[in-house]
């Protein structure tokens, strides 16, 4: 195998692992989200070799943030390949900012959790 073919194969494997990890993380969020009633919506922005997760929560913000932080900590511990960034913000205007940056919905409050 030439060096460029080896590089290409390594990059392809990394992409595949990242995709798999992204699926595992987003599925875990959907499965666990109902345990965090302050959580209203989770959006994800893809960032090349990373993922930026935006957790939007109900008021009062500080109590909601405290409720959701253990979930964020758990999600961070699940990452191996992906560089996972996060933000917990009050539900509202910032959601439109994230959506304008190409954010994908991961979880919506009231949505049925996956089996």
């Amino acid at each position: 195998m030439t060096r460029s073919a080896a590089h290409s194969r390594a990059a392809s494997l990394k992409r595949s692992s990242a995709k798999e990890e992204q699926h595992v993380i987003e599925t875990a969020i959907r499965r666990r989200a109902a345990e965090y009633p302050a959580l209203r919506r989770v959006l994800a922005i893809d960032k090349g070799d990373g993922l930026d997760l935006h957790f939007f929560v109900a008021e009062p913000f500080s109590a909601a943030e405290d409720q959701v932080l253990p979930l964020v900590s758990e999600v961070l511990r699940m990452s191996r390949v992906l560089d996972v960034d996060f933000m917990i913000a009050p539900a509202g205007a910032a959601e439109n900012v994230a959506l304008s940056q190409g954010a994908r919905p991961v979880y919506e409050y009231g949505a049925r959790s996956p089996e």
């Binding site: 943030e65 961070l76 511990r77 996972v84 960034d85 913000a89």
Partner: protein, 133 residues
């Protein structure tokens, strides 16, 4: 402060480099009279003080803290006690919200972050690195 490879200027390759930077950030905060008008930036500097303390601790353990917040946050979530990890992540979250003006900060918010989230992280780091400030 040590130098980065390839002659790119100052770098932070050791626990002591990060402790020095944390002390520098503390000196800046000590020089500041925190009001509602600057509580956002005071909180952001408080987070960066915590960042250098946790990176010093990770160096001490021989763990790669990476160059991104994502990698450092993951290392903290994996290696620090749960309560300290959550406090650090709260400091990070607030620094991000204040930096991009998605949340307003008050003197009370700054005091709460300092007393209830920064101090426990500092005390934990001091168990391994007593000179940390």
């Amino acid at each position: 402060m040590s130098r980065c490879p390839r002659g790119r200027g100052p770098c932070m390759n050791t626990a002591q480099d990060h402790l020095n930077k944390a002390a520098h950030n503390r000196a800046f905060l000590d020089s500041l009279f925190v009001t509602n008008a600057n509580a956002d930036w005071a909180s952001i500097v408080l987070f960066y003080r915590a960042l250098h303390l946790v990176r010093a601790y990770l160096h001490h353990l021989g763990i790669n803290h990476g160059i991104s917040h994502g990698v450092t946050n993951r290392a903290v979530a994996a290696r620090f006690p749960a309560a300290v990890s959550v406090s650090y992540l709260k400091l990070y979250n607030h620094s991000r919200l204040y930096r991009y003006e998605q949340l307003a900060a008050t003197v009370q918010d700054f005091a709460d972050l300092d007393r209830n989230h920064f101090r426990p992280a500092l005390q934990f780091v001091q168990t391994a690195l007593p000179s940390a400030v």
